[in-house]
Amino acid sequence: MSSLEISLYAVGSLTLACGLLAMGVRNLVHALLWFGLSLMGTAVLFAQLGASFLAGMQILLYVGGVVMLLIFGVMLTREHEHLGAVREVNHRIRAAVVSLVLFAALVMAILHTPGLDQAPGLASQATAGVTLDQLAVALLGPYGIAFEVLSLLLLATMVGAIVLARKRDPGEPTGRKPIGRQNLGKQRIEGLASPIIALPAAAASVAAIATVQAPTVAVQAQAPQTTEPAVSEHESPAEQPTDDTTDAPVDVAAAVALSAQGDQP
């Protein structure tokens, strides 16, 4: 066993211990702190594997961003105070059994796979690590499309998160609109309007992605124009389904109208 392996095992078991604690403790804030530690352990592992940039990003994004966000989430929902974060004992035992079986299966698979530890042809180069230059070239070169898609995804996430978490105005109607004949006609037109707006936007995005060379700016410039006004003017789409789930039998006409309504981004 090489020294690298030993250190990997050491750091890894620490990381694992932190993760287990994060999953096990009853206090959610404590769990989050243990989780943060576990993330740091992973960062160390990254560093050991020659991915120092990634280790940095891990700490920045995860420990700095995600854990903080989650702590905010816990604070916002004020649930941690009077209830434990974990379920009853029998549930935990069941969960443990399932995960242990899964683990056993994985270990079996790993141990039965030959040649994992034999030095590969590129091993020497690999252990030398990947430079930041190489990474940058890879990201903007061969993986350019993925990069672009990711940027779109982030944008969508942003919009989605805003829409979802936006607090409703007190004057805004909560239920779905009563569907009269007049309303139905109007809603149909509105329902038609939203795809008319959305479709070109989607088409443009796809076109932009398809051409790798296309400047990122163009995509970003186009998308907000089409989606943002809709968001600010209409009800949030995600609220609609939650309303639907409460009353089971929905008239077909009403359902059509609703989906038309829901189409409005």
Binding site: S38, Y62, G73, E79, V98, F103
Partner: protein, 97 residues
């Protein structure tokens, strides 16, 4: 390499355990993150073994996606809290209706 695989799968299984045993929605989110981490570790590990930038590039992507996911997840948790008054995963059984 075996070490990385073992550590990664152990972390992943810890995540699975958390996913199944957590009651609080945020706890579930943590468990998912832990599993993503395990996957990330695997990506980096294989990238380290074969060389080249692909492992790290994809780990980076995954990270970004994970962050995005946390954001959406949190927004959903907020919404859930607003509409139901709690964030108990085991109480949310609307799917059955």
């Amino acid at each position: 390499m075996t070490a990385i695989l073992l550590i990664s799968s152990a972390l992943f299984c810890a995540g699975v355990y958390g996913l199944l045993s957590q009651r609080h929605a945020v706890g579930v989110l943590i468990a998912i993150e832990l599993m993503i981490n395990a996957a990330n570790l695997l990506l980096v590990g294989f990238g380290w073994r074969t060389g080249g930038a692909f492992g790290q590039s994809f780990a980076l992507f995954t990270m970004a996606i994970a962050v995005a996911e946390v954001v959406v997840g949190l927004a959903l948790i907020l919404l859930m809290y607003r509409s139901r008054g709690d964030v108990q995963v085991d109480q949310a059984t609307e799917l059955a209706q």
